[in-house]
Assembly symmetry: C2
Homo-oligomer: 601 residues x 2
């Protein structure tokens, strides 16, 4: 499998860097330098503020289970590592097309490529310079899986049920300004980006800015953990959730393929759940626009000036037309130049009143290359326009806040319904501080079940500048075996972002124990997620790659509140993404991700 991936990498994608699935690693790359796949400007696979590290390499050991009961810890969270009953093995038998006639598979591949081209399942091609700026040029089909992923219906329902609860949770957390500020105090010191967001948030607290109409278009991402048989949350995205458009279309592609080929494959197209994310998001935006109550006001999409995933955004915005809502598209720099605030709080951009600001940029440090962009963000925040998300919603989606929510009795501050609290807690992965001797002992004994993460947030793009030379230097050094132990540790530290995996967890824990220093406060231990693997046919750039893959389920949620009235609080479709799970020896997974859909089992 690993070799298979290597050969794929070397022969087909020699110019693509492999990348690890773990969130912290992604932080070491600036968005603009992210070379392997332009469409993953999405916040979930590359989100620097990801909550949970997961690790796709299937480590084969028998009889291994996570501790069944873990006590309450100072900085940790309380959760029973129960295993879900009645859960079928998370396998994907339908993916195995080996028994299907090769000609039929080739025909399916061809038809899928044609279908995607005719139905707007496209992205900009990174090899064409203008493809990120000019629509209609340099298009290539979006990467997609040839067939949907078998997914147990019970897990899917569980994820869907969580959507309105998380919608509500984000709203409640966003209203507690002090909670956000206090929780992010430490982060502020080490992370310049979050610090700037907090500054804006502070200013809003100072002027007592209220958001009467609040619009949230979120996506909560999950993985099925093979060891615990639990659906575990990877992260909650509250800004710039990508693929409501293309995700919907991939479901339609798969339905179309199964209508045509289902009989040969023994599959039923009706088992692909309806996916209405794009239409429901558009509906939520239109409702927000209606609430704002200025018929001449427009919806403004805050976009990156270079955006190869623009068609996903265009799908959503093109639906605005059906509501007779005019959409404009501006970069943060343009908003800084063209924006102004009227005394009554109305945001004007290029002379047009803006009712809803929909962010598809502004979530990463690289979106703010100068003070202009920060100034634009502040301007929008000060206005009466409905921000999707507001600065509070944005901060509520950070990893640090989600860590806080995982602490004992914190969820209870924001949610009333005990069942809801239990549901949310059930999808949180384990998180412990290092001052818990018991868990440290367990981790030394079974380091493969944990990930060590530094508490501090990473440093954005600057980190990359430091990382790459180090990476090269340490690689060379590693090769000549100079000061072997030290460098193996550090090398891995860099290539996996800030996370420490496997044998290095044991070594680091033993060293910290021996030194007895304060350094242990800088780390936390997290449960490592082992997503199930299955064979997948991944289409990219017109080529089909057959490989072992892991998948991540995103559930979209839309929330709209006007003063005391909840106008919309719903789950709105889903996004399945599948990724080649091949990994290298360094313990870092690599591969590329494609859009997928669900086949309920």
């Amino acid at each position: 499998m690993g070799a298979g991936y290597s050969s794929l990498c070397l022969s087909t994608f020699t110019h693509h860097h492999s990348f690890p699935l773990t969130a912290f690693h992604c932080k070491t790359k600036s968005k603009s330098n992210f070379p392997f796949n332009p469409i993953y400007k999405d916040r979930s696979f590359n989100n620097p503020l990801r909550r949970i590290a997961y690790f796709p390499q299937p480590i084969r050991f028998s009889g291994c289970e996570l501790p069944s009961k873990v006590g309450t810890l100072k900085c940790g969270k309380v959760r029973e590592m129960e295993s879900q009953e009645g859960v079928a093995a998370i396998t994907n038998p339908m993916r195995d097309l080996e028994t299907v006639d090769e000609d039929l598979v080739q025909q399916m591949i061809y038809d899928a490529l044609v279908w995607s081209s005719l139905h707007g399942l496209v992205v900009g091609d990174k090899n064409v310079q203008r493809s990120g700026r000019t629509p209609g040029v340099g298009m290539v089909h979006a990467p997609f899986a040839l067939l949907p992923l078998s997914f147990p219906e019970s897990y899917y329902s569980q994820a869907c049920e969580l959507a309105p609860i998380f919608n509500e949770l984000v709203d409640r957390v966003s209203l507690d300004g002090n909670f956000l500020q206090d929780s992010l105090t430490r982060t502020k010191k080490v992370d310049a980006f979050t610090s700037r967001l907090l500054d804006i948030h502070s200013k809003m607290l100072e002027i007592n800015k209220k958001e009467d109409i609040r619009l949230g278009l979120h996506r909560s991402d999950y993985m099925l953990d093979e060891h615990t048989k639990l659906l575990l949350q990877i992260e909650l995205n509250t800004i710039s959730c990508s693929f409501p458009g293309l995700g919907t279309i991939v479901s339609e592609l798969h339905r179309s393929l199964l209508i045509h080929y289902g009989e040969h494959l023994g599959l039923d197209s009706k088992k692909i759940p309806g996916n209405s994310s794009v239409s429901r998001f558009a509906e939520a935006m239109a409702k927000a626009w209606t609430e704002y109550n200025n018929p001449r006001a427009v919806v403004m999409v805050v976009a990156q000036s270079e955006e190869r995933n623009m068609y996903d955004q265009h799908w959503l915005c093109s639906l605005n037309n059906t509501y007779n809502v005019t959409t404009i598209r501006k970069s943060l720099a343009e908003i800084d130049m063209q924006g102004e605030l009227l005394p009554d709080g109305t945001l004007l951009v290029g002379g047009q009143a803006v009712s809803v600001v929909y962010f598809r940029a502004g979530y990463a440090p690289s979106d703010y290359p100068s003070e202009s962009e920060w100034s634009a963000r502040l301007l929008m925040e000060q206005s009466s326009a409905i921000k999707c998300p507001s600065i509070s919603y944005h901060l509520a989606g950070t990893k640090k806040i989600q860590q806080e929510l995982a602490k004992p009795n914190v969820l209870e501050r924001f949610l009333d319904n005990k069942e809801d609290i239990a549901k949310v807690r059930k999808c949180f992965a384990g998180l412990w501080s290092l001052d818990d001797a018991e868990i440290v002992s367990k981790a030394i004994e079974r380091p493969e079940l944990y990930v060590m993460k530094p508490q501090r947030e990473g440093g954005g793009p600057i980190f990359l500048i430091f990382t790459l030379p180090f990476f090269l230097l340490f690689t060379i050094i590693y090769i000549i075996h100079w000061w072997e132990h030290c460098f193996r540790t550090r090398f891995r530290y860099f290539i996996s972002g800030n996370n420490i995996y496997g044998e290095d967890v044991r070594e680091t824990l033993l060293r910290l124990k021996k030194e007895g220093s304060e350094e242990d406060a800088a780390y936390i231990l997290m449960q490592r997620i082992f997503p199930s693997e299955s064979l997948a046919y991944l289409m990219r750039d017109g080529v089909c790659h057959k490989d072992q893959a892991i998948s991540e389920l995103g559930i979209y949620g839309a929330y709209l509140r006007s003063k005391d009235k909840v106008i919309m609080n719903e789950q709105c479709g889903y996004l399945m993404r599948t990724k080649i799970s091949s990994s290298n020896e360094g313990g870092v997974a690599a591969g590329f991700a494609v859009l997928d859909s669900i086949y309920l089992t």
Copy 2:
């Protein structure tokens, strides 16, 4: 205007050769070497067998009209050069966006590009190597006009009414094997391609092959002649009529734009006539498949192995799915390799019985690089599969046959209804032999109203090999003014294909008169069409070009006959194409064409 085009050519399309609109010139280029625009593999703008030469350069002279009455001539046709009454000036006021806010125009351009990307209005990009083979890669929006073309409803109705008549005419002509053979005898001697088609046709006559089920998917192309105010037929395509798919989508694009922007532009989206060409063609194919009465048989698209206009074809074929008809796609070479004929006449390709053969290749000499392709063509012709077109239908669409039909009393052999005959005759352009002294005198007097064409058909791709060096050589010679008169004539002869225009018509006629040789039998005189010009916004490669343009209207017709029963004989939507009409001094027009739609006035 000319300068505007030059700067466009030099700055934006330096690697694109300009090309003349005239058909004969196109014959001098092999398809595979046609560099400027990959999508015009279509038979109408580049068809080597085109019927009428038209000339887009607007020559401004006042009071000039074609002779109002021309007598019957030996090799000519009879037609009253009447001018149609009650016809509004063929202008295009809607195209003038000068009065519209520039921002709005830019927004329209952006929206149009987005719309085309999301709705499959795409072609393969010639700059991407795989774009002609692999669907889903290297896509770019199809060239399109930003707004529909104002077109008088009376002309549109006239063209629509002609469709079923031409459908019937082609069918009747196809049944008269001797007429086809006799008419093409002279052509056979000079044109190797037509000669090969005739050989197949002869073989079918010899074995008395009957086509019980006959399917015709035609497109008749017209231009509005500004001088005579007549709708004149440019050619009738009976094989590989392109753009039923993308043409339909362009109408939808324009409708969508006018729904959104119509109010600002003072335009009504309802004035764009419905365009159902793709669905009606699919319906005709499905009905033919039903008539063949083998539920397991497939529809086979004969495609070029490299086809950047594949999405137009895929639109049509994807509709076959809705009729539960399986479509396969093969090149002529593949058919030669995988095809076989069962004793009962069934055509098997790759083991699959073929009910309908739909040609989107096989219309040009370059489609037959070896004997294999001819062998495949013969195999299909011998089979019981429904050929769209059969060899007879194919030959019935050649320019030579259309010349024959223009002769006195020929239409009467095939059509019964006098009104139909009058309608068809009315759309034929003037065509005379040189032994008519009166018309020769008129042409010497007013050479700008005629085109001189050699009688013989041209020589296919080999001509290109000779043409290019000559072109270069003569250009140099022309520059140094060596033997000026002779070379000016010959130079123009080459660069405009075989056609002679303008002052050269006079010179050649005077020379022939003086020499009194037999050479005049080698030429015919044709009425030159002066299409009206209007300002257009042409979108190509993400860039909008504003320029004077001329347009050509294609009307699709579907015909299906099973034995003595006509199952379908209908007009099926339309195709408008618009082309920059800039021309150079040498009297050769150059520019590029885009897909367009109609705005009825």
